[in-house]
């Protein structure tokens, strides 16, 4: 709760700093504020939380864990922003403020205990993201991304809201606990309206997490947005959307899993294949990451399809691993594309000769995304596969394995470009902030890969 207050006040402070032209203080203030917010969240750990604000929110361990990981990811991304926003325009305070606003929405999303808070959280996050996607005002692709994201997002929000009202109509409450009790008390007489509500919520949330067949906005939006914002959307926003998805389904709809599991199963399989196969054909590294993020949404859906006591832990580990690796990938992409002016795979050719550090961290990130042991990504996949096998989803796991094999092709493409192809290139200057973020993230990836108990036992 204190976390939410800090993150809501912080952007206002940042806006004032911008008003008084204290550009130098923006980043330190934001980061210190976020660290305080994360610290306040950690202080609440294991405090047997009760719902607050008349049952609107519940700041339990689940909420704390996801708040902290989203805040930490945001901090890492903000470090990468040093010098990045200045290249776009002079109004950088606004950018920090909007990112923080969306983070406030995210905190609401991971700690909601009432469907209205879910909706409000998603809207706070999404509206901020629509703006962020379009901050390159003179760039055609950025404009397109923003508009597309807005139209599609508004559309999907409609589905979500309609679903919520139908649930309310059937069960008579927005409160998660009340809805769950209603479901348990009516094992046979559940209104078709309720089922329709679940389906519409699935559609709405699948839009938000970018799962096929509701993924059409993802590649264009991720590709068109400024790379730093893409990094934010595909890590922090995606993690939050999954946390909300899982929280809702684990709390309310678990007893009805016979009804919605087949639906999500089909969505998961389509998501895996569409994400992976399309990623194979991309010539742009950034677009490849966009499609690979679709396939990772597929793996994350495993935890919801195979809902069980370990789901929260699996999503947490997977989302952490995926976020850290993606931040590295986007960070290196920002540097490389700034130098070469292109996002293509070719612009990575021969990177290992001049910048062995960048090549090494990006290799670690790719190995993690591909799920190779001794990296965090493997632990995430391992948890997902174990969870799904525990629920006897053997076919799903076999299809996932095939997808994991396909993904090697495109993740290794950039490794091959960096190490095995030659190109005349100048040495890239890597700013100290970048060195810090990339180095820390690469170390974290390996550390979690070797000592997974460190984060796996949290949830």
């Amino acid at each position: 709760m204190n976390t939410l207050i800090v993150i809501s006040v912080l952007p206002i402070l940042v806006l004032y700093l911008g008003l008084y032209k204290v550009q130098k203080a923006l980043l330190p203030v934001t980061i210190i504020g976020l660290l305080v917010a994360a610290g306040l969240a950690v202080a609440q750990w294991n405090n047997s939380a009760q719902p607050i604000y008349h049952g609107m929110m519940l700041f339990d361990n689940f909420a704390i864990a996801f708040s902290v990981i989203t805040i930490v990811s945001t901090i890492l991304i903000l470090f990468l922003s040093a010098g990045y926003f200045e290249r776009i325009s002079n109004h950088i305070a606004e950018y920090y403020a909007i990112i923080l606003f969306s983070l406030a929405g995210i905190i609401v999303m991971v700690s909601f205990y009432n469907l209205t808070m879910l909706f409000i959280g998603i809207e706070i996050m999404s509206v901020s993201l629509y703006i962020l996607a379009g901050i390159k005002k003179n760039d055609f692709a950025s404009n397109e991304a923003s508009l597309k994201y807005f139209l599609m997002g508004a559309f999907s929000t409609g589905f979500l809201l309609f679903g919520i009202t139908l649930i309310y109509g059937a069960s008579g409450s927005f409160n998660l606990e009340a809805i769950r009790n209603w479901v348990i008390e009516h094992p046979h007489g559940i209104d078709p309206m309720f089922y329709t509500g679940i389906l519409l919520i699935i559609v709405g949330l699948c839009f938000k997490v970018g799962a096929a067949p509701f993924h059409f906005w993802t590649p264009d939006v991720y590709d068109g947005s400024p790379t730093l914002i893409t990094a934010y959307m595909s890590t922090v926003a995606k993690t939050a959307a999954f946390a909300a998805f899982l929280r809702l389904f684990a709390a309310c709809f678990a007893p009805l899993s016979d009804f919605w599991v087949p639906v999500l199963l089909v969505i998961t399989i389509i998501t895996l294949f569409i994400g992976n196969i399309t990623a194979l054909y991309q010539q742009s590294f950034k677009r490849m990451l966009a499609f690979s993020s679709i396939s990772h949404a597929g793996y994350l859906l495993f935890a919801i399809v195979a809902l069980g006591s370990s789901s929260a832990g699996s999503v947490f580990v997977y989302a952490t691993a995926y976020s850290i690796a993606s931040i590295i990938a986007f960070g290196v992409l920002i540097l490389v594309s700034h130098q070469s002016g292109s996002n293509s795979f070719e612009s990575f050719n021969g990177l290992s000769k001049k910048n062995p550090f960048l090549a090494l961290v990006l290799t670690i990130a790719m190995l993690s995304l591909a799920g190779i042991p001794l990296t965090a990504g493997f632990i995430g996949k391992f948890f997902m596969f174990s969870g799904a096998l525990r629920q006897y989803q053997v076919l799903l796991v076999i299809l996932a394995v095939i997808n994991a094999i396909i993904s090697i092709f495109y993740y290794f493409r950039v490794i091959i470009a960096m190490y095995f192809r030659d190109a005349d290139r100048e040495e890239l200057m890597v700013p100290a902030y970048y060195k810090f973020v990339l180095g820390i993230s690469a170390l974290a990836t390996i550390f979690i890969g070797i000592f997974p108990a460190f984060i796996a036992n949290l949830l």
Partner: protein
């Protein structure tokens, strides 16, 4: 004294080697690998050849999920540990006349791979086994792709995807077994005591079999192998053929058959037939090869086919033969690839048809080559003989037809190997081979060691057989006990 020393020393060594300069990295790498060999020797001297697991280590890794860093050495593992620790220093020594770019990285990768291999050969926990399995793959991928031949990019990614695909299915098998254990643990001994029905065991069998069959490789999963062996740098080829393919064979003995005995019973004949087809198929292709390295690569498929056939018969003689043959094959194949490395470095070609008469200008080299060829074709009193003899004897107990076909490997092997030797070494020298310089320095050291091992093991293999005997008998009995339960 636990096996952790053996596993972590190469990891630390790999990190230290990274800080050496280009020219000195190889000395550091050799020193560390010799220290590792000395430690393995110390383990051997304290090893009691009974069926127990010794020097074991058991550290909680993710105890909530039943994952422990649980490793130890029994008779079977001891042979594999010896193989690994013996070959790595030899392989490092074979690179002494090469000038690799980024040499510290090269040697660090080799040492890191050694750690992965040792984990595979000593792991007693399913999760640890899988991690070691992949940890050995990543370094060899980079070794092949960074220092390999012209087509390396396309071929190494094929190799990687092939083996990665197999191992992911194995991971599913391991997770499946874990979910069946009442205590929810990855401990191998708990896997052994499971009693699944034959249908489920068949699935487990295939999940493991795919991974191991690709690694060995068994026909028809071998298509990555000749290309990768040919394109990899010599040291990489030696690591692959000398040690890495033994991961698959070891996996069959330790993880495939005991974990899915009934599944094995159901599919044994298919596995046997595939192994024997591999022998004949690879031998025939080996006949037609003009590229020496490729010829040796195919000969390796044939030899591995016989080893796997001997194992799938599942007699104590077969396993014992497989273990000693793995050791011998490792030594011989490293020698053989080193011979071709020497030839191709001096002549800049590997085409057999362009050579001839080298024996006249390089007598020491000719002698070493001859001894290695004889070891490879399993002449009595060389190390190849005892293993092949026991393996054929074992296959004989299963089927006379199969042993007749499998026995061809000895004849075929003799024909293409001796033919290769004749064409390369005998006859008249030509413009290319007339200036062939005889071996010296590190080359002489490596080849002498290899030749000595070939002869010593050939004459007196008993100590090696004695190491693993009790463990093999114990394993066979426990699996046969399960067979008997069904009948």
């Amino acid at each position: 004294m636990t096996v952790s020393i053996l596993i972590f020393l190469p990891v630390i060594a790999a990190l230290i080697v990274l800080f050496f300069k280009n020219e000195t990295a190889k000395y550091a790498a050799l020193t560390f690998s010799v220290v590792e060999l000395a430690i393995a020797g110390l383990f051997l001297s304290r090893f009691v050849p009974d069926a127990s697991v010794q020097f074991s280590t058991d550290i909680a890794w993710m105890p909530r999920l039943g994952i422990y860093f649980n490793a130890g050495i029994d008779g079977i593992s001891m042979i594999m540990v010896l193989l690994t620790t013996l070959l790595v220093p030899l392989i490092i020594l074979t690179t002494y006349k090469h000038q690799y770019k980024n040499a510290p990285v090269f040697y660090a990768l080799i040492l890191f791979m050694q750690a992965g291999l040792l984990v595979v050969f000593t792991a007693l926990d399913g999760f640890l086994f899988y991690v070691g399995w992949e940890a050995a793959l990543i370094p060899i991928y980079f070794i092949c792709a960074l220092w390999g031949g012209e087509n390396r990019i396309r071929i190494t990614i094929k190799f990687f995807i092939y083996t990665f695909a197999g191992s992911l299915f194995m991971l599913l098998g391991i997770i499946y077994l874990y979910l069946q254990t009442p205590e929810k643990t990855y401990d191998l001994s708990h896997f052994y005591s499971l009693n699944l029905d034959a249908h489920h065991q068949s699935w487990v069998f295939w999940a493991f079999f795919l991974a191991f069959a690709i690694k060995m490789p068994i026909f028809p999963f071998h298509t990555w192998q000749p290309d990768t062996y040919t394109e990899a740098p010599s040291a990489g080829t030696m690591m692959l053929a000398g040690i890495m393919l033994k991961m698959g064979i070891y996996g069959v003995i330790r993880w495939l058959i005991p974990n899915a005995p009934l599944g094995f019973l159901e599919w044994r004949n298919l596995a046997l037939i595939l192994s024997v087809i591999g022998i004949v198929y690879a031998s025939i292709i080996a006949f037609t090869q003009n590229d020496g390295k490729r010829l040796v690569a195919y000969s390796s498929i044939a030899h591995v086919g016989l080893i796997s056939a001997g194992i799938f018969v599942w007699t104590s003689q077969g396993i014992q033969g497989a273990l000693i043959q793995m050791l011998s094959h490792g030594i011989n194949i490293v020698g053989m690839f080193f011979i071709w490395d020497i030839i191709s470095r001096r002549l800049n070609t590997r085409a057999i048809s362009e050579m001839g008469g080298i024996a006249k200008v390089a007598p020491k080299f000719a002698l070493a080559f001859l001894i290695i060829v004889l070891g490879t074709v399993a002449l009595p009193l060389t190390n190849g003989f005892i293993g092949e003899f026991m393996l054929l004897n074992s296959v004989f107990q299963a089927s006379i037809t199969l042993v007749a076909v499998a026995g061809l490997t000895m004849i075929f092997g003799a024909v293409y190997m001796l033919r290769m030797y004749k064409k390369v070494m005998q006859g008249e020298t030509n413009a290319l081979t007339a200036v062939f310089a005889d071996i010296s320095g590190s080359e002489l050291v490596v080849l002498s060691i290899i030749c000595c091992l070939i002869i010593v093991i050939g004459i007196y293999p008993q100590p090696i057989l004695h190491i693993s005997e009790a463990s093999v008998n114990n394993l066979i009995q426990s699996v046969n006990h399960k067979f008997a339960q069904v009948k």
